[in-house]
Amino acid sequence: MIYNFYIFGRGRRCLCREEWNRIRPCADVTQETKFISGTLLTLTSLCSQLGPPGGQFTAYTTPQYKLHAFSTATGYRLVLTTDPSVRDLQASRRRRSGNEDQDTLRHIYAELFVEHVVKNPLYRIGEDVSKCTTFLSKLHSFVQTRPFFAISA
């Protein structure tokens, strides 16, 4: 089950927020987005201090849901919330098995975001991506074809 997708640019700005299968409607979208981006920042710093050096935050699990995060070298953060049974979404960095489901977030960044947003001449860096309709439609079709899109264990 996939619930939400976010892209945060540099400086915590939310560039994109998408929603699927939400059973509990969101009470306050702005507030929730702020919470997510704040949580992400804090966890990133927590991970760099706790545990071995060089640790990068990748996911957290609660009994209700799981949040996967992927941060790029240029400072974008991609976040996907799913149900807790979904396995690590970007584990293929460690074991390159060629298994596509494993790097959903990496694929969204490299094949969709870079191709259809960053390379779009009308897009200005730091803007909302709502004008990039190709990106949004490709994102929707990509996410909706994931094997775990609407199945919950």
Binding site: R22, L46, G51
Partner: protein
């Protein structure tokens, strides 16, 4: 053996009451850092359960209360696994790869806590744990290399 690098216990207010370092991870944390980081984790865990996209899986007003908050956090080099107790305490550990499920270990740690700390007549609730027996049992449970060498 499970590769547990460090182990922490938070009370229900989110302050650190016990910590144990078993393996060096390369980064040294002062006791102030440990207190700060672990209470940060407590706060983040509360926020994480608030921004949940789904309802709590509770079965009505008379159901058994389900613990909330982060149960595990993955980073590229380690995993933090947490066992939230029904009373609001948090038992968590930093596990190094090869990763294994640490939940049974944390549940056992909770059992040890109730046996050796809560039954200690000199222990005050919510205060830092200084019980020699608990310390010894925890080191035995988590397999401290110093203990194994027959110190």
């Amino acid at each position: 053996m499970v590769g547990v690098a460090s182990f922490f216990v938070l009370n229900r207010n989110g302050s650190l009451i016990y910590d144990l370092e078993l393996q060096s991870t390369g980064s040294t944390l002062s006791s102030n850092d440990k207190i700060r980081l672990s209470s940060t984790f407590h706060g983040i865990s509360a926020i994480a359960s608030q921004v949940s996209p789904v309802r709590n899986r509770a079965g009505g007003a008379f159901s058994y209360p389900a613990p909330r908050g982060i149960t595990s956090m993955d980073a590229s080099t380690f995993r933090l696994q947490c066992f939230p107790t029904l009373t609001g305490m948090k038992f968590f550990c930093v596990a190094l790869p090869p990763l294994q499920d640490c939940e049974p270990l944390l549940r056992q740690a909770y059992a040890l806590y109730s046996d050796f700390v809560l039954k200690n007549p000199f222990y005050e609730l919510d205060m830092p744990v200084r019980c020699e027996l608990f310390d010894r049992e925890m080191r035995k449970l988590l397999g401290d290399p110093l203990q194994a060498a027959g110190r």
